[in-house]
């Protein structure tokens, strides 16, 4: 069964500290993984997709098929990074359905 696991509900760090938001997936096919961010009271926004291998707002994420992981990283957290972060698996067998993890709240303190 397809599943996305984000083990941490809350990650609390100080400004300037490194951040790693964990995401593991379970999928028998070739995975397409995404990170979405939801700032307070705003819409879900696409942050990263593994296919493009880009860095957005200093965040990067590498797909590790051996460990079935897609962890989100940033070397120096900023207060404006505080938000909910959702890892999502694109399940193409179901007309582009996205399966979300439970989300991790990142709180960056001054």
């Amino acid at each position: 069964a397809q599943r996305v696991t984000q083990p941490e509900k809350l990650l609390s760090v100080f400004k300037g500290a490194p951040v790693e938001l964990k995401c593991n997936y379970s999928y028998s096919g070739s995975p397409e993984l995404f990170w979405y961010v939801q700032y307070s009271r705003q819409r879900l926004q696409l942050l990263l997709r593994h296919i493009s291998r880009e860095s957005i707002k200093g965040f990067t994420a590498d797909l590790n098929k051996g460990e079935t992981s897609f962890h989100l990283k940033k070397p120096f957290a900023q207060e404006e990074d505080s938000a909910m972060y959702y890892c999502a698996l694109h399940f193409s067998g179901g007309y582009n359905k996205l399966i979300f993890g439970a989300g991790t709240r990142l709180a960056v303190h001054p």
């Binding site: 397409e32 819409r43 879900l44 179901g94 007309y95 582009n96 979300f100 439970a102």
Partner: protein, 113 residues
């Protein structure tokens, strides 16, 4: 940048009443979706819609729910007889051909009292 628009932003309704949540997807997108997020819980898939019909629906999407694209621009979610547990944030999303990620609307907060 094109946006997915949802109205209303907040809807309060009495248990047993019908509600219609409205969405205007991005105009050249072909796939449309509804997701919901109960307070404090994960975002859950409800239904996907393609080529004027439902392509997939989750267990949550029972007979009380229906979707429609009545005029080629709006995409609506109807809940026939609301229950307290339908209280949630409902997100509409759309995507184009050659999936590159959804665009989500800002959501409708439904409160059933």
């Amino acid at each position: 940048e094109p946006e997915v628009t949802q109205t209303p932003s907040h809807q309060v309704t009495q248990m047993g009443q019908e509600v219609i949540l409205r969405c205007v997807p991005i105009s050249n997108h072909l796939y449309f979706y509804w997701y919901r997020q109960i307070l404090g819980q994960k975002v859950e898939f409800l239904v996907s819609f393609y080529n004027n019909e439902i392509s997939e629906k989750s267990e949550i999407f029972d007979d009380q729910f229906s979707v429609e694209r009545p005029d080629g621009s709006n995409f609506t979610l109807k809940i026939r007889s609301t229950k307290l547990e339908d209280s949630a944030m409902y997100f509409c999303a759309s995507s184009g051909q050659g999936y590159n990620g959804y665009t989500f609307g800002s959501g409708t907060r439904l409160t059933v009292v």
